[in-house]
Protein backbone atom coordinates (compact mmCIF):
# COMPACT_ATOMS: atom_id res chain seq x y z
CA UNK A 1 0.00 0.00 0.00
CA UNK A 2 1.27 3.44 -0.77
CA UNK A 3 1.58 5.10 2.59
CA UNK A 4 2.50 8.63 1.71
CA UNK A 5 3.16 9.77 5.25
CA UNK A 6 6.22 7.51 5.54
CA UNK A 7 8.53 10.31 4.47
CA UNK A 8 7.20 13.44 6.14
CA UNK A 9 10.15 15.64 5.19
CA UNK A 10 10.86 14.61 1.61
CA UNK A 11 7.35 14.81 0.23
CA UNK A 12 6.56 18.26 -1.17
CA UNK A 13 3.65 20.32 0.12
CA UNK A 14 2.04 20.14 -3.33
CA UNK A 15 2.12 16.33 -3.41
CA UNK A 16 0.77 16.24 0.13
CA UNK A 17 -2.17 18.40 -0.85
CA UNK A 18 -2.96 16.31 -3.91
CA UNK A 19 -2.69 13.07 -1.93
CA UNK A 20 -4.84 14.49 0.87
CA UNK A 21 -7.56 15.66 -1.55
CA UNK A 22 -7.56 12.42 -3.57
CA UNK A 23 -7.75 10.18 -0.51
CA UNK A 24 -10.29 12.41 1.27
CA UNK A 25 -12.61 12.21 -1.72
CA UNK A 26 -11.96 8.47 -2.01
CA UNK A 27 -12.95 8.06 1.62
CA UNK A 28 -15.98 10.31 1.25
CA UNK A 29 -17.24 8.12 -1.59
CA UNK A 30 -17.50 5.05 0.66
CA UNK A 31 -21.11 4.09 1.37
CA UNK A 32 -21.02 0.61 2.84
CA UNK A 33 -20.46 0.01 6.51
CA UNK A 34 -18.11 -2.91 5.83
CA UNK A 35 -15.52 -0.52 4.47
CA UNK A 36 -15.47 1.72 7.54
CA UNK A 37 -12.88 -0.36 9.46
CA UNK A 38 -10.61 -0.19 6.39
CA UNK A 39 -10.87 3.61 6.30
CA UNK A 40 -10.23 3.92 10.02
CA UNK A 41 -7.26 1.57 9.72
CA UNK A 42 -5.72 3.66 6.92
CA UNK A 43 -6.34 6.86 8.87
CA UNK A 44 -4.77 5.40 12.01
CA UNK A 45 -1.79 4.10 10.04
CA UNK A 46 -1.25 7.53 8.55
CA UNK A 47 -1.44 9.11 11.99
CA UNK A 48 1.12 6.64 13.37
CA UNK A 49 3.44 7.15 10.42
CA UNK A 50 3.28 10.95 10.71
CA UNK A 51 5.35 10.76 13.86
CA UNK A 52 3.44 13.62 15.54
CA UNK A 53 0.95 11.41 17.31
CA UNK A 54 0.35 13.41 20.47
CA UNK A 55 0.10 16.71 18.59
CA UNK A 56 -2.31 15.27 16.02
CA UNK A 57 -4.45 13.45 18.58
CA UNK A 58 -4.97 16.75 20.41
CA UNK A 59 -6.11 18.37 17.17
CA UNK A 60 -8.36 15.44 16.41
CA UNK A 61 -10.40 16.14 19.53
CA UNK A 62 -12.97 18.36 17.83
CA UNK A 63 -13.61 15.84 15.08
CA UNK A 64 -13.82 13.04 17.65
CA UNK A 65 -16.45 14.94 19.63
CA UNK A 66 -18.47 15.56 16.48
CA UNK A 67 -18.19 11.89 15.48
CA UNK A 68 -19.32 10.82 18.95
CA UNK A 69 -22.30 13.16 18.56
CA UNK A 70 -23.36 11.50 15.30
CA UNK A 71 -22.85 8.05 16.83
CA UNK A 72 -24.99 8.88 19.86
CA UNK A 73 -27.74 11.02 18.41
CA UNK A 74 -28.58 9.41 15.07
CA UNK A 75 -29.64 6.01 16.57
CA UNK A 76 -31.96 7.87 18.96
CA UNK A 77 -33.82 9.97 16.48
CA UNK A 78 -33.85 8.11 13.23
CA UNK A 79 -34.77 4.77 11.64
CA UNK A 80 -37.58 2.22 11.59
CA UNK A 81 -36.01 -1.05 12.78
CA UNK A 82 -35.79 -1.23 16.57
CA UNK A 83 -32.36 -2.28 17.76
CA UNK A 84 -32.82 -2.04 21.49
CA UNK A 85 -35.18 -0.41 23.93
CA UNK A 86 -34.04 0.97 27.27
CA UNK A 87 -37.12 2.32 29.07
CA UNK A 88 -38.36 5.39 27.19
CA UNK A 89 -35.31 5.39 24.91
CA UNK A 90 -35.39 3.38 21.68
CA UNK A 91 -32.34 2.80 19.50
CA UNK A 92 -32.85 2.29 15.76
CA UNK A 93 -30.69 0.22 13.44
CA UNK A 94 -30.67 2.59 10.46
CA UNK A 95 -29.65 5.50 12.62
CA UNK A 96 -26.86 3.49 14.18
CA UNK A 97 -25.62 2.43 10.74
CA UNK A 98 -25.70 5.97 9.38
CA UNK A 99 -24.00 7.25 12.53
CA UNK A 100 -21.21 4.70 12.29
CA UNK A 101 -20.65 5.43 8.59
CA UNK A 102 -20.53 9.20 9.06
CA UNK A 103 -18.36 9.02 12.17
CA UNK A 104 -15.95 6.56 10.53
CA UNK A 105 -15.54 8.64 7.38
CA UNK A 106 -15.15 11.84 9.40
CA UNK A 107 -12.46 10.47 11.70
CA UNK A 108 -10.57 8.74 8.91
CA UNK A 109 -10.50 11.82 6.67
CA UNK A 110 -9.49 14.21 9.45
CA UNK A 111 -6.81 11.84 10.77
CA UNK A 112 -5.37 11.44 7.30
CA UNK A 113 -5.36 15.13 6.45
CA UNK A 114 -3.75 15.92 9.79
CA UNK A 115 -1.10 13.25 9.20
CA UNK A 116 -0.36 14.61 5.74
CA UNK A 117 -0.65 18.33 6.23
CA UNK A 118 0.35 19.10 9.80
CA UNK A 119 4.10 18.47 9.27
CA UNK A 120 4.14 21.29 6.70
CA UNK A 121 3.86 24.96 7.67
CA UNK A 122 0.64 26.66 6.54
CA UNK A 123 2.74 28.99 4.41
CA UNK A 124 4.18 26.06 2.51
CA UNK A 125 0.68 24.70 2.01
CA UNK A 126 -0.43 28.01 0.54
CA UNK A 127 2.65 28.02 -1.68
CA UNK A 128 1.66 24.50 -2.70
CA UNK A 129 -1.86 25.67 -3.54
CA UNK A 130 -0.39 28.41 -5.70
CA UNK A 131 1.81 25.90 -7.50
CA UNK A 132 -1.29 23.77 -8.10
CA UNK A 133 -2.93 26.60 -9.99
CA UNK A 134 -4.92 28.51 -7.36
CA UNK A 135 -5.11 32.13 -8.62
CA UNK A 136 -2.24 34.21 -7.29
CA UNK A 137 -4.66 36.79 -5.94
CA UNK A 138 -6.10 34.17 -3.60
CA UNK A 139 -2.70 32.81 -2.69
CA UNK A 140 -1.43 36.31 -1.85
CA UNK A 141 -4.55 36.89 0.20
CA UNK A 142 -3.87 33.69 2.12
CA UNK A 143 -0.20 34.58 2.61
CA UNK A 144 -0.88 38.00 4.04
CA UNK A 145 -3.74 36.69 6.17
CA UNK A 146 -1.47 34.08 7.69
CA UNK A 147 1.27 36.64 8.24
CA UNK A 148 -0.91 39.13 10.10
CA UNK A 149 -3.28 36.70 11.83
CA UNK A 150 -1.35 36.47 15.10
CA UNK A 151 -0.82 40.18 15.24
CA UNK A 152 -4.42 41.19 14.64
CA UNK A 153 -5.69 38.53 17.02
CA UNK A 154 -3.30 39.99 19.59
CA UNK A 155 -4.63 43.47 18.92
CA UNK A 156 -8.20 42.33 19.38
CA UNK A 157 -7.42 40.60 22.64
CA UNK A 158 -5.59 43.68 23.93
CA UNK A 159 -8.66 45.69 23.00
CA UNK A 160 -10.85 43.26 24.95
CA UNK A 161 -8.49 43.63 27.88
CA UNK A 162 -8.63 47.42 27.74
CA UNK A 163 -12.42 47.18 27.72
CA UNK A 164 -12.41 44.88 30.75
CA UNK A 165 -9.97 47.05 32.70
CA UNK A 166 -12.30 49.99 32.25
CA UNK A 167 -15.23 48.05 33.62
CA UNK A 168 -16.75 46.90 30.32
CA UNK A 169 -20.19 45.31 30.55
CA UNK A 170 -20.89 41.63 30.13
CA UNK A 171 -23.63 39.73 28.31
CA UNK A 172 -25.79 41.37 25.67
CA UNK A 173 -24.64 44.84 26.62
CA UNK A 174 -21.12 43.87 25.56
CA UNK A 175 -22.20 43.28 21.96
CA UNK A 176 -22.09 46.95 20.88
CA UNK A 177 -18.68 47.34 22.54
CA UNK A 178 -17.51 44.36 20.56
CA UNK A 179 -18.80 46.02 17.42
CA UNK A 180 -16.78 49.15 18.31
CA UNK A 181 -13.73 46.96 18.61
CA UNK A 182 -14.36 45.37 15.21
CA UNK A 183 -14.97 48.77 13.63
CA UNK A 184 -11.80 50.29 15.04
CA UNK A 185 -9.82 47.24 13.92
CA UNK A 186 -11.22 47.61 10.41
CA UNK A 187 -10.23 51.27 10.28
CA UNK A 188 -6.72 50.50 11.53
CA UNK A 189 -6.41 47.63 9.05
CA UNK A 190 -7.34 49.95 6.23
CA UNK A 191 -4.76 52.54 7.27
CA UNK A 192 -2.11 49.86 7.64
CA UNK A 193 -2.85 48.34 4.28
CA UNK A 194 -1.79 51.60 2.63
CA UNK A 195 1.63 51.31 4.30
CA UNK A 196 1.78 47.67 3.37
CA UNK A 197 1.07 48.41 -0.28
CA UNK A 198 3.79 51.06 -0.34
CA UNK A 199 6.26 48.59 1.17
CA UNK A 200 5.31 45.89 -1.33
CA UNK A 201 5.61 48.19 -4.29
CA UNK A 202 8.94 49.63 -3.16
CA UNK A 203 10.40 46.16 -3.09
CA UNK A 204 9.17 45.32 -6.55
CA UNK A 205 5.99 43.34 -5.91
CA UNK A 206 4.57 42.40 -9.28
CA UNK A 207 2.99 38.98 -9.14
CA UNK A 208 3.10 36.53 -6.31
CA UNK A 209 4.65 36.72 -2.90
CA UNK A 210 6.52 33.47 -2.76
CA UNK A 211 9.61 31.76 -4.01
CA UNK A 212 9.68 29.88 -7.33
CA UNK A 213 8.72 26.22 -6.87
CA UNK A 214 10.82 23.22 -7.68
CA UNK A 215 9.31 20.59 -10.02
CA UNK A 216 7.70 17.52 -8.44
CA UNK A 217 10.18 14.76 -7.63
CA UNK A 218 9.85 11.01 -8.32
CA UNK A 219 8.69 10.38 -4.75
CA UNK A 220 5.95 13.01 -5.18
CA UNK A 221 4.74 11.33 -8.35
CA UNK A 222 4.90 7.89 -6.74
CA UNK A 223 2.80 9.01 -3.77
CA UNK A 224 0.27 10.80 -5.97
CA UNK A 225 -0.19 7.73 -8.20
CA UNK A 226 -0.29 5.44 -5.17
CA UNK A 227 -2.97 7.57 -3.53
CA UNK A 228 -5.00 7.66 -6.77
CA UNK A 229 -4.84 3.88 -7.10
CA UNK A 230 -5.89 3.49 -3.47
CA UNK A 231 -8.81 5.90 -3.89
CA UNK A 232 -10.06 4.13 -7.03
CA UNK A 233 -9.64 0.74 -5.32
CA UNK A 234 -11.67 1.93 -2.34
CA UNK A 235 -14.39 3.25 -4.62
CA UNK A 236 -14.49 0.04 -6.67
CA UNK A 237 -14.48 -2.23 -3.59
CA UNK A 238 -17.24 -0.18 -1.99
CA UNK A 239 -19.49 -0.35 -5.05
CA UNK A 240 -18.84 -4.06 -5.66
CA UNK A 241 -19.73 -5.08 -2.11
Amino acid sequence: MADPACSPILLSARARLVVAFVLAFGFASVQSLVMVPVLVAIGAAGLLASGMIRHNLARLRGAALLAAGFLLILPLISGQTELASLGPVTLYLEGAQAGALIAGRLLAIVALTLALLSPVSPFDLVAGMRALGVPSLMADLAFLTLRYMQEIAGQLSRGQLARRLRGGKTGWRAVPDHAFLVASSLIRAQLRSEQLWAAMRLRGYNAGLNAPVAPLGPLDWACISGASVLAVALFWLDRSL
Binding site: A28, R59, S78, L137, T145, M149, F180, Q190
Partner: protein, 207 residues
Protein backbone atom coordinates in the same frame (compact mmCIF):
# COMPACT_ATOMS: atom_id res chain seq x y z
CA UNK B 1 -21.77 26.49 11.01
CA UNK B 2 -19.43 24.38 8.96
CA UNK B 3 -20.21 21.07 7.31
CA UNK B 4 -17.62 18.56 8.50
CA UNK B 5 -15.86 15.97 6.37
CA UNK B 6 -17.60 12.65 6.01
CA UNK B 7 -21.15 13.92 6.41
CA UNK B 8 -22.02 14.69 2.83
CA UNK B 9 -22.06 12.25 -0.09
CA UNK B 10 -19.17 12.69 -2.46
CA UNK B 11 -21.35 13.86 -5.38
CA UNK B 12 -22.57 16.81 -3.33
CA UNK B 13 -19.08 17.64 -2.16
CA UNK B 14 -17.92 17.76 -5.79
CA UNK B 15 -20.94 19.84 -6.76
CA UNK B 16 -20.01 22.21 -3.91
CA UNK B 17 -16.55 22.64 -5.39
CA UNK B 18 -18.08 23.34 -8.78
CA UNK B 19 -20.42 25.95 -7.27
CA UNK B 20 -17.70 27.67 -5.27
CA UNK B 21 -15.38 27.54 -8.25
CA UNK B 22 -17.99 29.29 -10.35
CA UNK B 23 -18.52 31.96 -7.70
CA UNK B 24 -14.75 32.46 -7.45
CA UNK B 25 -14.39 32.75 -11.22
CA UNK B 26 -17.14 35.36 -11.41
CA UNK B 27 -15.71 37.42 -8.57
CA UNK B 28 -12.14 37.20 -9.84
CA UNK B 29 -13.24 38.38 -13.27
CA UNK B 30 -15.07 41.29 -11.61
CA UNK B 31 -11.96 42.11 -9.60
CA UNK B 32 -9.80 42.05 -12.75
CA UNK B 33 -11.94 44.83 -14.17
CA UNK B 34 -10.70 47.16 -11.41
CA UNK B 35 -8.14 49.72 -12.59
CA UNK B 36 -5.23 48.24 -10.57
CA UNK B 37 -6.36 44.92 -9.08
CA UNK B 38 -3.15 44.06 -7.26
CA UNK B 39 -3.23 47.35 -5.36
CA UNK B 40 -6.41 46.20 -3.63
CA UNK B 41 -4.84 42.95 -2.41
CA UNK B 42 -3.20 44.41 0.73
CA UNK B 43 -6.45 46.09 1.77
CA UNK B 44 -8.53 42.98 1.16
CA UNK B 45 -5.96 40.89 3.01
CA UNK B 46 -5.85 43.14 6.06
CA UNK B 47 -9.63 43.28 6.29
CA UNK B 48 -9.90 39.51 5.79
CA UNK B 49 -7.47 39.04 8.64
CA UNK B 50 -9.60 41.23 10.90
CA UNK B 51 -12.73 39.22 10.01
CA UNK B 52 -10.90 35.97 10.55
CA UNK B 53 -9.47 37.09 13.89
CA UNK B 54 -12.78 38.57 15.05
CA UNK B 55 -14.61 35.35 14.28
CA UNK B 56 -12.23 33.52 16.62
CA UNK B 57 -13.20 35.73 19.58
CA UNK B 58 -15.96 34.17 21.66
CA UNK B 59 -18.45 36.84 22.66
CA UNK B 60 -20.86 36.16 25.47
CA UNK B 61 -24.47 36.25 24.32
CA UNK B 62 -26.50 34.78 27.15
CA UNK B 63 -27.22 31.97 27.61
CA UNK B 64 -24.16 30.97 25.57
CA UNK B 65 -21.10 32.40 23.91
CA UNK B 66 -21.07 32.70 20.15
CA UNK B 67 -18.42 32.97 17.49
CA UNK B 68 -19.38 35.56 14.93
CA UNK B 69 -19.73 34.50 11.30
CA UNK B 70 -19.48 38.04 9.87
CA UNK B 71 -20.41 36.93 6.34
CA UNK B 72 -22.75 39.92 5.98
CA UNK B 73 -20.18 42.47 7.06
CA UNK B 74 -17.58 40.80 4.86
CA UNK B 75 -19.87 41.19 1.86
CA UNK B 76 -20.60 44.84 2.57
CA UNK B 77 -16.96 45.77 3.18
CA UNK B 78 -15.21 43.67 0.56
CA UNK B 79 -17.76 43.34 -2.24
CA UNK B 80 -16.51 40.85 -4.81
CA UNK B 81 -13.38 40.28 -2.76
CA UNK B 82 -15.58 38.55 -0.18
CA UNK B 83 -15.63 35.29 -2.15
CA UNK B 84 -11.86 34.77 -2.39
CA UNK B 85 -11.57 35.97 1.20
CA UNK B 86 -14.11 33.41 2.41
CA UNK B 87 -12.51 30.55 0.49
CA UNK B 88 -9.09 31.48 1.83
CA UNK B 89 -10.49 31.72 5.35
CA UNK B 90 -12.16 28.33 5.08
CA UNK B 91 -9.02 26.67 3.78
CA UNK B 92 -6.94 28.14 6.58
CA UNK B 93 -9.54 27.18 9.19
CA UNK B 94 -9.60 23.61 7.91
CA UNK B 95 -5.82 23.36 7.91
CA UNK B 96 -5.05 25.31 11.09
CA UNK B 97 -7.92 24.45 13.40
CA UNK B 98 -9.68 21.48 11.84
CA UNK B 99 -12.94 23.49 11.50
CA UNK B 100 -14.96 22.40 8.48
CA UNK B 101 -13.17 20.05 6.17
CA UNK B 102 -11.27 19.58 2.96
CA UNK B 103 -13.97 17.72 1.02
CA UNK B 104 -16.71 20.08 2.20
CA UNK B 105 -14.75 23.27 1.52
CA UNK B 106 -16.76 23.95 -1.63
CA UNK B 107 -20.10 23.50 0.13
CA UNK B 108 -18.98 25.64 3.06
CA UNK B 109 -17.90 28.26 0.55
CA UNK B 110 -21.46 28.39 -0.73
CA UNK B 111 -22.91 28.52 2.81
CA UNK B 112 -20.92 31.67 3.57
CA UNK B 113 -20.33 33.10 0.09
CA UNK B 114 -23.93 33.40 -1.09
CA UNK B 115 -25.01 35.30 2.07
CA UNK B 116 -22.01 37.59 1.70
CA UNK B 117 -23.04 38.40 -1.87
CA UNK B 118 -26.63 38.93 -0.72
CA UNK B 119 -25.43 41.46 1.87
CA UNK B 120 -23.23 43.14 -0.76
CA UNK B 121 -26.18 43.44 -3.14
CA UNK B 122 -28.52 44.72 -0.41
CA UNK B 123 -26.06 47.35 0.72
CA UNK B 124 -25.23 48.50 -2.76
CA UNK B 125 -28.82 48.83 -3.86
CA UNK B 126 -30.40 50.31 -0.74
CA UNK B 127 -27.63 51.10 1.72
CA UNK B 128 -27.65 54.78 0.92
CA UNK B 129 -31.37 55.21 1.49
CA UNK B 130 -31.98 53.13 4.62
CA UNK B 131 -28.53 52.46 6.03
CA UNK B 132 -29.54 51.19 9.48
CA UNK B 133 -32.31 48.94 8.23
CA UNK B 134 -30.17 47.51 5.46
CA UNK B 135 -27.26 46.93 7.86
CA UNK B 136 -29.53 45.02 10.22
CA UNK B 137 -30.95 42.97 7.35
CA UNK B 138 -27.52 42.33 5.90
CA UNK B 139 -26.19 41.11 9.25
CA UNK B 140 -29.12 39.00 10.39
CA UNK B 141 -30.20 38.03 6.89
CA UNK B 142 -26.78 36.63 6.07
CA UNK B 143 -26.91 34.35 9.09
CA UNK B 144 -30.47 33.25 8.27
CA UNK B 145 -29.57 32.52 4.65
CA UNK B 146 -26.50 30.60 5.73
CA UNK B 147 -28.65 28.56 8.11
CA UNK B 148 -31.18 27.84 5.37
CA UNK B 149 -28.51 26.72 2.89
CA UNK B 150 -26.89 24.64 5.60
CA UNK B 151 -30.17 22.94 6.52
CA UNK B 152 -31.11 22.34 2.88
CA UNK B 153 -27.74 20.73 2.19
CA UNK B 154 -27.97 18.52 5.26
CA UNK B 155 -31.50 17.43 4.34
CA UNK B 156 -30.47 16.69 0.78
CA UNK B 157 -27.36 14.85 1.82
CA UNK B 158 -28.61 12.60 4.59
CA UNK B 159 -29.16 8.88 3.86
CA UNK B 160 -32.70 8.18 2.63
CA UNK B 161 -33.25 5.52 5.30
CA UNK B 162 -33.46 8.14 7.98
CA UNK B 163 -36.71 9.37 9.41
CA UNK B 164 -37.33 12.73 7.76
CA UNK B 165 -39.53 14.03 10.62
CA UNK B 166 -36.89 13.42 13.28
CA UNK B 167 -34.27 14.96 11.03
CA UNK B 168 -36.38 18.08 10.53
CA UNK B 169 -36.98 18.35 14.26
CA UNK B 170 -33.23 18.16 14.89
CA UNK B 171 -32.68 20.89 12.30
CA UNK B 172 -35.27 23.12 13.96
CA UNK B 173 -33.48 22.76 17.27
CA UNK B 174 -30.25 23.63 15.50
CA UNK B 175 -31.78 26.74 13.92
CA UNK B 176 -33.33 27.90 17.19
CA UNK B 177 -29.99 27.46 18.91
CA UNK B 178 -28.60 29.97 16.41
CA UNK B 179 -31.18 32.64 17.15
CA UNK B 180 -28.80 34.54 19.48
CA UNK B 181 -26.24 34.58 16.67
CA UNK B 182 -28.82 35.97 14.23
CA UNK B 183 -29.63 38.81 16.61
CA UNK B 184 -26.04 39.47 17.67
CA UNK B 185 -24.78 39.62 14.08
CA UNK B 186 -27.53 42.01 13.04
CA UNK B 187 -26.66 44.27 15.95
CA UNK B 188 -22.91 44.06 15.26
CA UNK B 189 -23.25 44.90 11.57
CA UNK B 190 -25.61 47.76 12.43
CA UNK B 191 -23.19 49.26 14.94
CA UNK B 192 -20.06 48.69 12.84
CA UNK B 193 -21.56 50.29 9.74
CA UNK B 194 -22.88 53.20 11.79
CA UNK B 195 -19.43 53.84 13.21
CA UNK B 196 -17.82 53.59 9.78
CA UNK B 197 -20.39 55.88 8.18
CA UNK B 198 -19.87 58.44 10.90
CA UNK B 199 -16.09 58.36 11.22
CA UNK B 200 -14.58 56.68 8.15
CA UNK B 201 -17.02 56.86 5.25
CA UNK B 202 -14.18 56.31 2.77
CA UNK B 203 -14.14 52.68 3.94
CA UNK B 204 -17.58 52.09 2.47
CA UNK B 205 -17.08 52.41 -1.27
CA UNK B 206 -20.66 51.67 -2.16
CA UNK B 207 -23.87 52.76 -0.46
Amino acid sequence: MHLPDGLMPVEMALAGYAGSGLLATISLSRIKRLPDPSSVVPRAAMLTTVFFAASLVAIPVPPTTVHLMLAGLLGVMLGWFAIPAILVGLFLQAVLFGHGGLTTLGLNGLILGLPALLAFGLWRSAGRRWPDLVALCAGSGAVVLALVIFAALVLAGMPAALDARAEQAALWVFMLAHLPLVLAEGLIVLVVLRVLRRTAPQLLPHG
